[in-house]
C-alpha cells in the first residue's frame, strides 16, 4: 500500500513539476547537419555553425512544488554570438516530436534573421513578422507553434500582478507579432519563450591579472580597471557561483578545464583592445570559470612557454611575415603572422616501418595501375585500332604517299604533370586517441609515409610540411620534405619524429604552402591538408575569425591556380569544411584508423579524371 501511494505521489510531483514532454524529445545532435544547412539557406552567416547551448539561469517565480523538486532554474535558451548559433541540446517543449522538430527549424530561422538581439521583446516580434512575411508556409507553421505554445505556458491568472501583465504582453506578442512595443516591468523573468531568440548569457568570470599566479587567492577589492568595467556592465545579471553548480561540473572535464585556464591566462595579456575583451566575456560564458577555480588550479598546469632552444628543431631563418584576414574589417591585414620554418635536422634516417609494408605495397600497386591509364592518339604508324578517318583522308588524296601510312589509333601513357604539397596538422588535438594504443598523430604519421611511397612510385613531385601555432607570432611550419629533395630514409626519419603540440592557425600555414606551390612549375598543383579539426588558436582565431581567415587563404590559393583539398578525421567536418574548401574540396574519413589506406586513394581521385 505504502509503495503504491509512494508511486502515485511521485508521479503527481513529477507531473506538477515537469513542463516538458520527454517522450517527444528531439535531440540537436540528430538534426545538426540538417539544421545547419537550413540556417545557411536562410541567409545565416556562412562561417557560423550550430552548437548546443549551455544552460543559463532564468529568474523565474517558481511554484512551491518546483522549488521542492529543484527544477525550473536553468534553461538552455537559443542565442548566438560571433562564434556560433547555440540551440538547446534537446527540445521537449511540445507533446509531439513533430512539433519539437518544427521548433528547432523555427529557432534556426529566427537565428538567421536575428543575428543580434538588442531589444529582446521588440526585436523578436519584428523578426517573426519578417519571417512570416517572407515565408508563407513558415507563417502557417509559426501560428501552429505559437498557438500550441500558448496553451502550454503557465496560466497568467496564477501569477502576481506584475508578472501577469508581463505574461499577457508576451502572449499578445506571440499571437500578434509587432502589436506591442514595450515589455511591462516585473520582478521575475517570464517563462522561456521558445519561439524567440535570446541575447548571449552573462555570468561571473574571474579574469586574473597578467602577473597573477593563478594559485593565489584573488582579492576582490583589487580588480583591474578593465575587469571592473566589464563586471559593472554585467553586474545586474551576475550568477552567484558559490551556490550554483549545475551545468558547470558536467561541462568541465579536466582537459577542458586546462584549456579554459589557458584562455583565461592568455586573454589577460592580450592587448588586442576592447573588442577582445567582449570576446573574453562571451567565451567565458561558455566555459564558466567558477570562483572556486583555485581548487582545481593546482592540477592545471599548462606550459605556455615555447619549446626551449635545445629542442629538436632547427629554426630556418628569422621567420616569414604573413598576412591574415580580418573578416569584420573585410581586409587582409599585412604581416600579422610570423611563421617559423623548422627542420628536425638531427632526425635519424629510418626505413619504412614494418607495420606499414602491406598498406604501402597496395598503395604502390594502385599508383602503378594509374600509370596504365592512356589517352588515344590518332593517325599513328602503329596501334591497337584502325583510324578510319586517317585512312579515308589518305584514300581521297589524289597522289598517295605510300611512306606515310599512319592509319592507327594508339593508346599511350600520358605524362603526369602534378605537384603536391602535403600539409599535416600537428596541433595538440592530434594527441587524441583513435583506439587504445593509437593516437591521431600516429595515424597522420603513417598516412604521410604511405602516401609518400605512392607519390614516389608515380614520380609526382611532392613536398611534406607540418604545422601548428601558438598565436599569430609563432606559427610553426615544419619541413619534412621539400620539392627538390628526393624521398629518402632521411625524410622518413623526419616524418617519424612529428609529435603533437599547440594550436591550429590554418590560414598562415595554407598561405605559406601556397607560396611554395606557386614556385612549382607543374601544370596541376594540389595543396593537400590533412587535419583533425577546425582552425583554432589561443587568441581570437578560435571561432568565426579563424574560419573566415582559413577560407580566405583557401580562396587565395585557388586564385593562384592551386587546388586546395582537405582530408579530415573530424566527424564534425561536414559542418564547416564545405564553407572552407567548397562542396567538392574535402573528405571526412570517419574511421581515422583507415586514413593511411584512404588518403592515397583520395589523392588518386583528385589527380585523375
Amino acid at each position: 500500500m505504502e509503495e503504491v501511494i509512494g508511486k502515485i505521489w511521485d508521479r503527481w510531483v513529477t507531473r506538477q513539476v515537469a513542463s516538458d514532454y520527454s517522450g517527444a524529445s528531439v535531440r540537436l545532435a540528430d538534426l545538426q547537419a540538417e539544421l545547419t544547412l537550413y540556417y545557411h539557406a536562410l541567409g545565416g552567416a556562412p562561417g557560423k555553425t550550430l552548437e548546443p547551448a549551455d544552460t543559463r539561469r532564468v529568474r523565474l517565480r517558481r511554484t512551491g512544488m518546483q522549488r521542492v523538486a529543484g527544477t525550473h532554474q536553468r534553461f538552455a535558451l537559443p542565442w548566438q554570438d560571433e562564434r556560433s548559433v547555440r540551440l538547446p541540446p534537446s527540445l521537449a517543449v511540445f507533446p509531439s516530436a513533430r512539433l519539437n522538430t518544427a521548433l528547432y527549424y523555427w529557432q534556426v530561422a529566427m537565428a538567421a534573421y536575428l543575428p543580434q538581439v538588442h531589444n529582446w521583446f521588440a526585436d523578436n516580434q519584428q523578426t517573426v513578422l519578417a519571417l512570416i512575411g517572407h515565408y508563407p508556409g513558415l507563417g502557417r507553421q509559426y501560428r501552429e507553434l505559437a498557438e500550441t505554445l500558448l496553451t502550454l505556458r503557465p496560466p497568467a491568472e496564477d501569477l502576481p500582478d506584475d508578472l501577469q501583465r508581463r505574461e499577457r504582453a508576451v502572449a499578445e506578442a506571440l499571437r500578434n507579432p509587432g502589436a506591442l512595443a514595450d515589455l511591462p516591468f516585473a520582478r521575475f523573468d517570464c517563462f522561456p519563450v521558445w519561439l524567440w531568440s535570446y541575447p548571449p548569457p552573462v555570468t561571473l568570470h574571474c579574469v586574473p591579472e597578467a602577473s597573477d599566479d593563478s594559485s593565489t587567492e584573488r582579492d576582490p577589492g583589487q580588480r583591474s580597471p578593465r575587469q571592473t568595467r566589464l563586471e559593472q556592465r554585467k553586474q545586474a545579471q551576475r550568477i552567484d557561483d558559490e551556490h550554483e553548480t549545475d551545468g558547470l561540473l558536467v561541462f568541465l572535464p579536466d582537459s577542458l578545464m586546462s584549456w579554459t585556464e589557458q584562455i583565461n591566462l592568455d586573454r589577460c595579456q592580450d592587448d588586442d583592445g576592447d573588442g577582445d575583451l567582449d570576446q573574453v566575456a562571451s567565451d567565458l560564458d561558455l566555459i564558466t570559470v567558477s570562483s572556486r577555480r583555485k581548487a582545481t588550479a593546482a592540477k592545471v598546469k599548462f606550459d605556455l612557454d615555447l619549446p626551449a632552444a635545445e629542442n629538436d628543431e632547427l629554426c630556418l631563418g628569422p621567420g616569414i611575415r604573413l598576412p591574415e584576414w580580418h573578416f569584420k574589417q573585410g581586409r587582409l591585414r599585412p604581416d600579422v603572422c610570423l611563421l617559423q620554418p623548422l627542420l628536425t635536422d638531427d632526425a635519424e634516417p629510418v626505413s619504412l616501418p614494418p607495420h606499414l609494408a602491406g598498406t604501402a605495397d597496395e598503395v604502390k600497386q594502385q599508383f602503378s595501375r594509374l600509370g596504365l591509364q592512356r589517352t588515344r592518339l590518332r593517325g599513328q604508324p602503329d596501334g591497337q585500332e584502325l583510324d578510319l578517318d586517317a585512312w579515308l583522308d589518305d584514300y581521297s588524296r589524289p597522289v598517295k604517299d605510300t611512306t606515310r601510312q599512319n592509319f592507327f589509333l594508339d593508346r599511350r601513357q600520358h605524362h603526369r604533370d602534378f605537384g603536391c604539397l602535403i600539409l599535416a596538422d600537428l596541433s595538440l588535438s592530434t594527441e587524441g586517441y583513435v583506439s587504445d594504443d593509437c593516437q591521431v598523430i600516429d595515424v597522420i604519421r603513417d598516412s604521410l609515409m604511405v602516401l609518400a611511397e605512392g607519390l614516389d612510385r608515380i614520380q609526382d613531385e611532392f613536398a611534406i610540411y607540418g604545422f601548428s601555432s601558438v598565436r599569430s607570432n609563432h606559427v610553426r611550419y615544419q619541413l619534412m620534405k621539400n620539392f627538390g629533395e628526393p624521398y629518402s630514409d632521411r625524410v622518413r626519419g623526419r616524418i617519424a619524429r612529428i609529435k603533437p603540440g599547440f594550436y591550429t592557425r590554418m590560414g598562415a600555414a595554407i598561405r605559406q604552402s601556397t607560396r611554395i606551390l606557386d614556385m612549382q612549375p607543374q601544370a596541376h598543383r594540389v595543396l593537400l591538408l590533412v587535419s583533425d579539426g577546425k582552425p583554432n588558436d589561443l587568441d581570437q582565431y578560435e571561432g568565426r575569425y579563424g574560419i573566415e581567415d582559413t577560407r580566405q587563404a583557401v580562396i587565395e590559393a585557388q586564385r593562384q591556380g592551386i587546388t586546395p583539398y582537405c582530408v579530415t578525421v573530424d566527424e564534425q567536418g561536414h559542418d564547416y569544411l564545405p564553407y572552407l574548401f567548397g562542396r567538392d574540396g574535402f573528405a571526412v574519413v570517419r574511421d581515422p584508423a583507415q586514413l593511411p589506406g584512404v588518403l592515397p586513394r583520395i589523392y588518386l581521385n583528385l589527380s585523375t579524371h
Binding site: 540538417e34 513558415l138 578517318d389 579515308l392 564545405p578
Partner: protein
C-alpha cells in the same frame, strides 16, 4: 526552333553582343547551367537573321568533327564540311557549347578563326577557307566545374570577348519563369525566392545551383495543378542532391515558402 524565341534581356548583353558582331569579334559566354546562354544565342541569331550551328563539346570531340572529314559515297570518297567550316564558308554563328569538355588540341583548331586572320586551313584537302563576313564564333562554358585537369588554355581564352552570365536578378527571373511556365507573377516570385535560398548553398552544401530551367519545370507543373511541395521536390530538390541529410532541410525550405 520556333519562329520567335522569347528572350528577356537581363543586362547589357545584347548591346555588347551587337558591338562584337559589328567588329566580327568572337565571343565567350560563361555562366552556370540553365541560366539562358543557349537561349540568348538563339535569340541573337534570330535578331541577326543568321543560321546557328550548335555543337555540344565532349572529350572525344576531334578537330575533324568541327572542320570536316572525308566520307565514303557511291562514287568514292567525298569531303564533308564540319559545322565550323560550314559556318565560316556560308556565314552564320557557330556556337560551341561547353567548350571546356573538348580536348585542348581540338580547341587549338579555333585559333586562326578567332583572331584577325579569320581563316581556317583544312589540312586534309589543302584548302584555306576565308571566313564569310557574317561568320561569328561563340563558345560557352560553365566555370563552376572545378577540375584540375580541364580548363581553357589562356591562349584560347584571350582570343574572345568574354561575357559572364548568371541567374537573372529576382524580378527578371520571376517574369521569365512566369512567362515560360505560364504561371502568375506571385507564384513565380515565390519560386524565385526559394531558388535564392537554395542558391546560397551552392558550392558549399550543394554541387550545383537551381537553374532557371528547373524553376520553369517546377512552374509548369504548378500551372497544371501539381501541389507546390511535389513540384518543388521533384523539379528543384531531387535533381540537385542524393543525400538524405540534404534533402530533408531543403524540403523544409520548400514548406517554408509554400
Amino acid at each position: 526552333m520556333n519562329t520567335c524565341t522569347h528572350y528577356q534581356v537581363q543586362n547589357d548583353e545584347c548591346e555588347i553582343f551587337q558591338y562584337a558582331v559589328q567588329h566580327r569579334l568572337p565571343v565567350l559566354i560563361k555562366g552556370p547551367t540553365g541560366c539562358g546562354k543557349t537561349r540568348f544565342i538563339e535569340h541573337m541569331a534570330q535578331q541577326l537573321g543568321r543560321p546557328l550551328y550548335t555543337v555540344s563539346c565532349h572529350d572525344d570531340l576531334t578537330a575533324a568533327d568541327l572542320l570536316g572529314r572525308h566520307l565514303v559515297g557511291p562514287e568514292g570518297t567525298y569531303w564533308q564540311d564540319g559545322p565550323l567550316t560550314r559556318a565560316a564558308r556560308e556565314g552564320g554563328i557557330c556556337y560551341l557549347d561547353e567548350i571546356i569538355e573538348a580536348r585542348k588540341d581540338t580547341t587549338v583548331a579555333l585559333h586562326s578563326l578567332s583572331d584577325h586572320r579569320r581563316t581556317v586551313h583544312l589540312e586534309r584537302t589543302g584548302e584555306t577557307v576565308i571566313a564569310h563576313d557574317d561568320f561569328m564564333l561563340v563558345i560557352s562554358y560553365n566555370p563552376s566545374y572545378q577540375n584540375m585537369v580541364k580548363g581553357l588554355k589562356p591562349s584560347t581564352r584571350q582570343r574572345f570577348v568574354a561575357m559572364s552570365f548568371d541567374y537573372p536578378e529576382p524580378s527578371v527571373e520571376a517574369s521569365i519563369v512566369s512567362h515560360e511556365a505560364g504561371i502568375d507573377e506571385a507564384t513565380a516570385g515565390q519560386l524565385v525566392k526559394l531558388a535564392t535560398d537554395i542558391r546560397r548553398l551552392t558550392d558549399i552544401d550543394l554541387k550545383a545551383a537551381v537553374s532557371t530551367r528547373l524553376l520553369i519545370y517546377a512552374g509548369k507543373m504548378l500551372s497544371s495543378g501539381c501541389p507546390a511541395r511535389k513540384a518543388c521536390l521533384y523539379c528543384l530538390i531531387e535533381p540537385l542532391t542524393d543525400e538524405p541529410s540534404t534533402l530533408e532541410p531543403l524540403i523544409r525550405l520548400v514548406d517554408a515558402h509554400f
